[in-house]
């Protein structure tokens, strides 16, 4: 394997545009040389930003490093480029399984099986989910003799499993301004979810009225910048609102993308509640 790494490295050095970086990155990842693997993956992504396998590779590296939020981002991007990418589908299934959302995990595995019915690893994955095996983090706690705290998926966090800031800064509300899921803290650390939710009911109603009376059509989103952070309000369902709050460093465009993903998660959760 060391020879493979050397020869692939040489090939990549000779031709930086080469796609050999994918194999090289995977080899380094398997050798648990995560920093080197990440550098190779990012090098490749700079030159091939629309290569699904490159995003998949980087996601796997991040997942190995337990950076699940960014891994989710990368697998999500992989699926945007290649909707039937089995690596990404399996990866997302793993992430959902990690946070205890077995239904989503199974859904993604089913999609992977539809795309690659002969993939032997899928049966094992199904067994793990259906057999009631504990999520990987919990198993790690058992191996450590209980030294690590067991992973408990918070009820609120389950609504936005796999999304960055699932515990704070994402708030799902009903049309009356009552909190359905998520949490929100002020920059000072105070829990402001209930107060903000109450105000947002009025914001949503006024946005609907404004769009209607000005002939702008249905409103899809409301983005706002403040000195303390940015917000994005959207309607994942007819009777629900979703608020995303992030610090000023996060641009509004990225906030909108995050809100779109969170909206999909919220829609699925709402459908399951009905």
């Amino acid at each position: 394997m060391a020879d493979d790494v050397r020869s692939l490295s040489a090939e990549l050095a000779g031709d930086p545009q080469s796609l050999v970086f994918v194999r090289l990155g995977e080899l380094l990842r398997q050798r648990r040389q995560f920093d080197a693997a990440a550098r190779v993956a990012l090098h490749g992504l700079e030159r091939h930003p629309h290569l699904a396998d490159a995003h998949d590779l980087y996601a796997r590296i991040l997942a190995d490093q337990r950076d699940f939020e960014r891994a989710f981002d990368e697998w999500d991007m992989t699926l945007r480029i290649a909707p039937q990418h089995t690596g990404a589908l399996k990866g997302l299934a793993f992430l959902y399984f990690t946070v205890g959302d077995l239904a989503q995990a199974e859904r993604h595995l089913e999609a992977a099986r539809a795309a690659a019915p002969d993939d032997p690893s899928l049966e094992q994955a199904f067994l793990m989910i259906r057999g009631g095996a504990p999520p990987p983090a919990a198993r790690a706690a058992e191996v450590d003799g209980g030294a690590a705290e067991p992973v408990q998926a918070l009820p609120e966090a389950r609504v936005f499993a796999g999304l960055e800031g699932a515990n704070e800064g994402l708030l799902l509300l009903d049309s009356a301004g009552l909190v359905l899921g998520g949490a929100l803290r002020s920059p000072g650390g105070e829990d402001v979810a209930v107060a903000v939710a109450a105000y947002l009911a009025g914001v949503s109603q006024e946005a609907t009225r404004t769009a209607k009376l000005l002939g702008l059509g249905e409103w899809r989103g409301l983005a706002a910048e403040g000195p303390g952070g940015h917000i994005y309000l959207t309607l994942p369902a007819e009777d629900a609102m979703l608020l995303v709050v992030r610090e000023r460093a996060v641009p509004l465009g990225r906030l909108a993308m995050l809100a779109q993903r969170a909206g999909q998660a919220a829609r699925r959760w709402l459908e399951r509640q009905r």
Binding site: L184, S186, P187, G188, E190, V192, A195, V196, A198, Y199, L200, G202, V203, E206, A207, R209, T210, A211, L213, L214, G215, L216, G217, E218, W219, R220, G221, L222, A223, A224, E225, G226, P227, G228, G229, H230, I231, V245, L252
Partner: protein, 117 residues
């Protein structure tokens, strides 16, 4: 602050492709202070509704500890409403097409807000 300066500032906003109209609105009253609107846009309605939404949004952001809003953008299927509050209590408002370059409009609104300070 004078009518000529306001007019020039609003004209800069309307120069951005996709902007259907721009106006200065009294944030508290929801009344038109100055406007450059295309046909079909009702100034008093834009002013009143933009001010009302701005006020509610500010309260929500205040409750979240994020401070007073500096820019907001209502995205609709058939258009957009973009607002920058000025320090004087006036709002600089633009009504635009859905595919407008939001970044450019935002910049011009911020410049106009400086004039309306």
């Amino acid at each position: 602050m004078n009518a000529v300066a306001f007019g020039r500032a609003l004209e800069q906003v309307t120069q951005v492709r996709g902007v259907r109209g721009a106006m200065l609105v009294s944030g508290q009253d929801g009344l038109v202070v100055a406007e450059q609107l295309m046909e079909g846009l009702r100034g008093p309605a834009v002013a009143a509704l933009a001010a009302s939404l701005s006020s509610r949004l500010s309260r929500a952001m205040g409750a979240a500890g994020l401070g007073i809003g500096q820019f907001w953008h209502l995205q609709c299927e058939g258009g957009a409403l973009l607002v920058v509050p000025a320090a004087s209590g006036l709002l600089v408002v633009a009504v635009a097409d859905p595919e407008v370059n939001v970044g450019l409009v935002r910049l011009e609104l911020l410049r106009a807000a400086e004039v309306a300070r």
